[in-house]
Symmetry: D2
Subunit: 390 residues, 4 copies
């Protein structure tokens, strides 16, 4: 692998899911605007799949060139497929990197594709930049996120305590930049946009929601407790049913246990044909912000219920262990146990409370600009050594 | 994947190379002796290959049952094959774990197979124990070792400062055990064994060494600087040639750049048919200790030049960046630059000095016993969360 | 890989889908009854997936022990995922065969998993038996089926002309046995069973069909024309809608283009909430026979519309190119073009005609017995050479 | 995967070994000369490995642009690694084809990479052209070759009876072209070139051969009898040793059993330091022709001992079962049993006989021209159906 000289710096972004894209898009836009670097975009894993909203099409509609599409999701409902998907992604991404010859590879957050990217690039002596390191949560994501930190050469944490955690882990201060999370960069300009256009585009029955209060649900399988998700899904469905408000339910990620959720959702849909829940596969990052701004309450265990919501002040209820330990602003109610009665009461409380004051906990809306600047100007280096604090 | 009840705890060891085996064998022996746990052994990667000494045969001769043999080395001399080997190993090991259903998987040190093991097991919700975490070195091993720490649930560091580094990285103190390195457990009983039997077994021309001073060389490719190894190999060969002592040269590991070393070795052998260097693919861990005790000086960049040597007091010269940063005892001379003149002088100095006082830096010879006890009795749990020191 | 002596012959069946199982089950039952061979069962690919009916659960309920479960479906809607699924299946199956050490591996029909099985086993010097070779159809299955014939050592064709085609391809007559297709072995005993139990078990609204005429649809993507399946699906839906009979629609196989079908089915379901079409993921082989016996007409491009139907005399309409060239009995109307008007007319014609006389074209109901006998007694040999007919 | 319009036809060649390249090079040269098609070259498997002569470097030196390099050899000495290599090659090649978007993929002969190429391309609806189909030999290559025929859409057999065998297998006459083998295209212009330049370039001790008679050995593992190759290698070495002529021994292919051969060769070399055998990793196709023309006898089981030799009239001894059944000209002595005495006698007989009359059995030297013409002008189509001869 020889570097081609007299070329612009090449920065490669690997985007593997709906959430990945939302959390890196403002960086991509800023990089494209600057034009002193070449952007390379690789879309893989659930980012290519219709079941998860074909994010690749959203990326293309947003005007980005996709350099490679890499199918790597091994299908199944057991934890083994997450390991296999990681292995397959490494096989594929290493080949892609050998062809694209990036100077820096950017990997987002904490999923299996994130560590597949970090492993492929670091073994190939390519500098790795990592966003959203240092945060604390539950599930296997917690371990994988920190492992990615230890493989990466450049860090873009979203919060101050995440920044400190990365330093504690022995990373070199000069390589850790407190930038905030790019997912918050869209909020100010998008939160007040017209909701009706979005509802018309995605819902079978948009009328049912227009001008009405509605709830938003995102509930993913906790891969370390994936056998319990059927029950949890039923509890959430029951509480929503009793609240009896129109509800938008976003389809879950591709993970061990997702089939259990899907099965419950289908069963509910079939036995409750007149239910007010409508299912959506995917919003664009900007559309999602608008929806999040208009909902009376977001319910589930997606990090967006903590992260994006904090900056809007959307009332949020985060359930179960998947986000356990994550820093929260005052808008979030945590329910470790998923029980329909408690959940119903919490929803009622949040609806009554209404919007909270916005918080800057996860960013001030300028993360993309900062990250782009660093990616375009930082010294390229793969040297790395544990920094002892003693 | 259902757990079978009323069964002994199952502890699975994944052994991928000569070095892996030497550093876990005393644990295996102790576990087998105790008999309150079931040992499962998976041999993979270069542990199966003739080119690297067919360690699998040594393991079987030592009386262990090998449960699975997993071919995963993708051949080639470029860094990409390390990534591909990791990906393939994850595909294979996840299948193996789904069949063997271990309660704990033990992964050793810092190679690509080490992280492949850690990823497969942790995504499958299996508890991961890691040995030799927290040490500091050069090369990609440095990053991979710490990433494994962040994936593992149980830690067996070899030194006090490694212990502290693991704690600093946010691991829970209750899960970190300062045990020392099992590779030192063989030293006391083996160092004074008869060398001649070993020479007879492995050398084409054992007579040339018997009763004579000899040098020992282990030189691996630094995968982050693999294009420079040809030159480094030649410098080492030249210094050895000038010293003109009988020399045992152990074949390098399977890594990017290994072909460059092999090529230089073959070229040297063909153009120096009367050279006193003899090449050996593999010793058993015990035999290696005997050889290490008798050599006048060990030269190269293997961690055994630092680790096992420290406890014997063998004069050692560690060259290049591969071990850069690793804790050393007084027996080691470090040469960052690999230059035949400097190296020759260092060899002469070490030969003159002779044996150093033994050090306990890397262990007191009872690591295997301690680790086995913990593996057999610790609570099985995959819960894990970053521990902030602030 | 060493053979263990003094052991019963081991015959390994690799089952990858609903259709695979239906076409080999009577052999498995016969082998289990005989008890002079050890059966090994590997379930992989879509045979493990909920989306395709979790055939593995059916197999276990039928009393068989499943030796290995192998996840190998790479998810996606493009042809590339069929290739990747084949590659991944070879990686997995070769490991499985190295552990199970079968004397014979049985591979069924013509899908990507079929050739993955044949390649893995034949490269590992294991005898391969192949069912349903020599038939002629459209799609990539046509090529793959014949490639499997050229890799296999033992052949169990279903029809006389398939037998002759295998001989023509240069296979040794002594290794080709005209057995008929095992999928027909269940027909006589199951066709007249009570339909209502089955409807109750699988349909949301079984009442809608009980005591009424109903249609049965199985429509798979033709992987060589997968971009045209959306349109074809709509044409079929429209014709069914106009006929306005209760209809059971079986979910399609996992193939490139399947997403296009699913998308049309979901769209139809959502825009026709009062439609009489009900979707079913999976019947057991026996249940399927009962359904096939009671339907007024089977429509689509599944080989069961030709094969199993022939022995019952079920009126059948086979559309498109996927089965083009396959031998048919008089019960089948072929429609190369998929056009809702023509299709509607053909359905009306078939309903009017009613049951045809049963045909023995694909078997006499004793294939399982014959195949089991040969598998248990044939000489184990991997010798093979093209037999010239000149 | 969208086709780009207004572009030249793209023909992709997958080259996986020394032998692959020799047998397709004249086609590549002709295609490059014509310039009405775009050539794409993918080099994979042992074509990238130093152990097997780094054919990729030869290809580049010959002035061809290599579009992709794909590492796919899973290392090991057991049959399982051939299966795994096939699986990995399919994963990689399918990705490559999705990027290069060829109109035709050309696959050569009968190795595991040949069928990996054929499977990847045919599942991706890309037209497959296959050279050297229809020949009869021993080993697993026999089955794989015919399986490739059944997957390919265009056939370029080398001999008349191979042509007839392909037709017999049910291929459409319009798609089968009797072209001869491109490996013979270099013979006339290269056979009389100066041998000494070549010897100087490759041999440690070229003087030992110059102006002297010498033998040439190519001996590969028969993968179906790979446990017997150690013994066979020793028999060949012993016969050569007794003949006591200078000998060039070409390193074997990467296959199960190759380690056994290597081990014997190394052992021999070390115990016979004054042996007249010299080992060579790789000649260019043209150099090989010159060597073949000057040797007194070629010994082993490479097809070049039958194919290329026939056109030169080089005395040849083909041993064992690997080529069993292949058409031979009068220059070949077949020895099924590998016994040093018989072999020695055969070598003496062949040396006495000297050159045979050249034969056109495998081609007239214009295959490359014919194949290039067809590749550039044939109609692109993936339609395919078994043609019955009844």
């Amino acid at each position: 692998m020889t570097r081609i000289n007299n070329k612009k710096r090449r920065v490669c972004f690997v985007i593997n899911s709906r959430a990945n894209y939302a959390r890196i898009k403002s960086v991509l836009m800023e990089m494209q605007r600057r034009n002193d670097c070449e952007i390379q975009i690789v879309v893989g894993a659930s980012g290519l799949l219709f079941r998860f909203g074909s994010v690749v099409d959203v990326i293309k509609r947003d005007g980005f060139h996709v350099d490679r599409e890499v199918y790597s999701v091994v299908e199944g409902n057991e934890p083994i497929v997450m390991a296999k998907t990681t292995g397959l992604a490494i096989l594929e991404l290493s080949q892609v990197f050998s062809e694209l010859k990036p100077d820096i590879v950017v990997t987002v957050a904490d999923r299996h594709e994130t560590i597949a990217t970090a492993i492929s690039a670091s073994y190939m002596n390519i500098m790795v930049a990592h966003t959203q390191g240092g945060e604390i949560t539950g599930s296997i994501d917690e371990s994988v996120r920190h492992a990615c930190t230890k493989l990466a050469h450049l860090h873009f944490p979203a919060t101050q305590s995440a920044y400190e955690n990365i330093i504690q882990m022995g990373e070199d201060k000069k390589r850790v930049y407190m930038t905030g999370c790019p997912s918050l960069d869209f909020i100010d300009e998008n939160k007040s946009k017209d909701l009706n256009n979005i509802l018309d585009k995605y819902l079978m029955n948009p009328k049912s929601i227009q001008d009405l209060d509605f709830l938003l649900v995102l509930f993913h399988a906790d891969t370390q407790h994936y056998l319990e998700v059927s029950n949890a899904t039923r509890e959430i469905l029951n509480s929503i049913k009793e609240i009896d408000l129109p509800t938008i339910w976003l389809w879950p990620n591709a993970d061990a246990g997702t089939d259990f959720i899907s099965k419950e959702l289908r069963k509910f849909r079939e036995t409750n044909p007149s239910s007010k829940i409508q299912f959506v596969r995917n919003f664009s990052p900007e559309e999602y912000v608008t929806v999040l701004n208009h909902t009376k309450c977001i319910i589930g265990n997606s990090s967006s219920g903590i992260r994006e919501s904090s900056r809007i002040g959307t009332p949020s209820i985060t359930v179960g262990s998947r986000q356990s330990g994550r820093e929260i602003a005052e808008n979030v109610i945590l329910l470790n146990e998923i029980d329909s009665d408690n959940l119903k009461n919490a929803i009622i409380r949040q609806i009554k409370h209404g919007k909270y004051n916005p918080s800057n906990l996860y960013g001030d809306g300028r993360a993309g600009k900062r990250i782009a600047e660093i990616l375009c100007t930082t010294e390229i280096s793969i040297d790395k050594k544990f920094v002892s604090l003693n």
